[in-house]
């Protein structure tokens, strides 16, 4: 998914559950700065929280690359979660509500996909997984 041109980039580590809280706060700050509505901000931050936890629990930690993207006249926020974990064997299964290999409810991936406009999982077996999600204004 190469939609949009990245303009401003920030990287945040995701190594423990305090980092997940820090991710929420930085994503909130970015979404506010980009003037998303309160409901949109809440959706973006919630998706970020789900995906950050996913990176931590299934990917064994990793990082979030936050970017401001534009596509013509549209502005958006791009969240890219990168881990070096075992990868996701069956992406369509992982996106199904209720499917979980961990201790969660199985809503993380499918739920955050619904909260964002664009969503992509790139498996790179052996080296990890990259989840990219964009919300346009």
């Amino acid at each position: 998914m190469a939609t949009g041109t990245a303009q401003k980039i920030e990287q945040l580590p995701i190594q423990n559950s305090s980092d997940v809280v820090a991710v929420r706060q930085r994503v909130r700050a970015w979404a506010t700065e980009l003037k998303f509505s309160l409901v949109e901000q809440t959706k973006i931050v919630t998706a970020a929280s789900e995906l950050a936890r996913n990176t931590l629990e299934h990917g064994g930690g990793g990082l979030l690359e936050l970017a401001r993207v534009s596509n013509g006249t549209r502005q958006g926020i791009r969240l890219r979660f990168i881990d070096q974990g075992p990868g996701i064997a069956d992406i369509s299964l992982a996106l199904q509500d209720g499917y979980s290999t961990g201790k969660g409810m199985g809503l993380g991936l499918g739920g955050s996909k619904r909260l964002m406009n664009e969503f992509n999982i790139e498996p790179t077996p052996g080296t990890g997984t990259t989840v990219t999600a964009i919300r346009w204004k």
């Binding site: 809280v21 929420r24 409901v39 809440t42 919630t46 789900e50 969660g104 409810m105 809503l107 955050s112």
Partner: protein
């Protein structure tokens, strides 16, 4: 270690979540609340989440677990004050919090708990307010 304070008011336990909870803090609250219900024989638990800017699936599940555990221990749980943006997001995320009783604010949440007590004919009506 961080802890979310639990206040006791008569037969009820009151919790106001005012911080952005990391997962361990949510689990600690779940354990603490379950223990306090047993210790004091609480009949109701009110959880005020009006300061929470997001409820993700983990926090949602923790709230559902608290309500289930409380019910097993003969206490009702009511979650109050959810922000509209949080409610919209939760439903879209796929969580409708089944099994959790909600109320718009603390006052109607307390009314619900009191009515439940009266209906159970166990209300002693002393109205003591004890903070600890």
């Amino acid at each position: 270690m961080d802890r979310i304070p639990i206040l006791r008011m008569g037969a009820f336990l009151l919790v106001t979540i005012q911080v952005d909870m990391h997962d361990q803090l949510a689990l600690t609250l779940q354990d603490d609340l379950t223990n306090r219900i047993t210790e004091v024989g609480a009949k109701g638990v009110l959880i005020d989440i009006s300061s929470l800017e997001i409820v993700d699936s983990f926090i949602g599940r923790t709230l559902a677990n608290i309500a289930s555990m409380a019910r097993v221990l003969d206490a009702e749980t009511v979650v109050v004050g959810m922000q509209p943006a949080v409610a919209i997001t939760l439903v879209e995320l796929g969580m409708s919090l089944p099994g959790i009783r909600t109320a718009l604010n603390v006052e109607s949440g307390m009314n619900f708990l009191r009515e439940t007590l009266v209906n159970n004919e166990e209300y002693d009506g002393d109205g003591d307010s004890t903070e600890d």
